[in-house]
Amino acid sequence: MTLTPRIARVAFSAALALLGIAAAIGGWGYGVTQDNGQVGAGFLPVALGVIMALLAGADAVMALLQREERRAVDELGTLGSEVDAAAIDHVEESPDIDALGRSQRQRNRMLAIVGGMLLVALLLVPLLGLLLSLGLLMLAVAIAVERRPVVSSVIITVIAVGAFHIIFGLLLRVPLPTGLIGFI
């Protein structure tokens, strides 16, 4: 099944509705009122949780019914189309292909790869340290994902990591984690 924007919106709203219900239940456990009758720790979570569940439910239903959204400010709606019209010169012949010739599918894959690399880089922090891990991430993204020239990517990465080491590590004296190797 393809994840259409409508399905994604319904799924997200449903998740928010469930989160609202969970918050309301959790809030109830904290006590809606205190012994003296005043607002308790659970008052706001319960109230907000219920409201969120109702609003998210309504949004999900609206998405399912695909009702046309009406703009709260009419001016924005009409001007929005003019903004789009003004930008018409930049619409590609095929909206699926970007200026670098990458298809939507390729870009989706790029996003997944960058997300994965980011996760790996953060997991490597205890080993390599923060700056080194993120520096490697920067280099990997520039070379492997964005296909930028190796030399310029290395130069930019070294300059960026060096600048951050000077600003945060030396000037601001932020104790950046250096990891097991204890380099920078």
Partner: protein, 499 residues
Amino acid sequence: MLDNLLLGFQTALTLENVVWCFVGVLLGTVIGLLPGLGSTTGVAILLPITFALEPVTALIMLAGIYYGAQYGGTITSVLISTPGEAASVVTTIDGYQMAKKGRAGAALAISAIGSFIAAIISLALLIAIAPPLATIALEFQPVEMFAVMILGLVIVVTFQGGAFIRGALMAVAGLLVATVGIFPGTGSTERFTFGNVNLLSGIPFVEVMIGIFALGEVFYQIRVGAAEPIKARFKDMVIKRKDITDSMPAILRGSGIGFAFGVLPGAGSTLASFMSYGIERRVSRNRANFGKGAIEGVASPESANNAAANANFVPTLSLGIPGGATTAVLLGAFTIFGLQPGPLLFESQPELVWGLLVSFFIGNVLLLVLNLPLAPVFAQMLGIPYGYLYPIILLTSLVGAYAVSNNMFSVWLVLIFGVLGYIMKELDLPMAPFVLGLVLGPLFEKALVQTSAIGQGDLGVVFTSPIAVGVLLFAVAMVVVPKLIGLLRRRRVKETAGV
């Protein structure tokens, strides 16, 4: 007032503050014009760099980024029809048409001049209004503050320009996230912390901002893909005297409209620019040329967004309620520096408040000097491939997040909220209500608890305060009146069609 202004000039005109103000407006201009970066992102990711500075110097620099970005956002709107800032979206309509006719220079120049005039007008109004408002706000009890915060949330939801339900949903989500941590009413009950000590003081605000605005935007831009690299078609920087005289009424109207919208908590400069353009298109003598490259179509929204950016500081400084997303981040900066924005700030920190306000004058003069001759130079930055830019944004965001609390927890939080920000962008969910809900959440709950204590558990005590009732009625009107006007307009259209 005069003494305060003198104090402000003494503070703002030190060499250190002028230099950092210059750095702020320069960075702001660059941030405003680069795709995928905006004033909110810029202030959020550069906030940790200011930790070594004095609070007033840091805030002068951060505020410089904010209003500098308003200038920078225009350059891309005019030259490549791609606004660097949301507040410059409407400028694309006539700005880009002017550029196509070889008048990009005039468009950028009138934008800089209009922004400068609007900034000076709005700053004069800001200086005139904020202190008396703060004095009035000093009389506000928790009941009134509770009502004012409800008004702020209602305004930000109402003015989103999207579906009301989704705006309200995001505001409630923000408020709910803000309930994580220790309950202020007892000072001991932990909520939704799941035993994690990092969450005891709540979800840290700056990390959320960095995640949503910086990482979320990077993820989104990767998926959207690279835009066509455009060379700036910039031939002529000369603006005719007639262009300025023709634009002056639009600039003045834009300044007024911008200030009026900017002063409302939650309304923001984007709405101000749209409203100003819409009104100018109806009242301008040159309205026939709107959409075809009318210089008034650039002057009006650009004046409005700059006036609104300054006016945003009225509720931020005098009430402690942010005017928009960027001032919400700045509010976070205040608290990091141990300052509590609000009515007391004018009394407790006059040097800081007046130094900051006066620095806006200095910053806008610097921006005019920078933008009139150097706009072509800034425009060259449009050639930087995003493939180089976003890895640097990732590095800046994550190292900056770590520096906020010297904790890897912050970095993971940025990643989590980055994913959330990406989803919000993909689903076109408004971020401003979420941000305002998150910022106002702790203040809102504190006011709620105090109101409950005053009423001995009865929240109906709110209705015993005439000010609170007036504010709440205004909030109701903000929701009901636009809907009624829309209903009446549609009915009239139907009747006309029927005839």
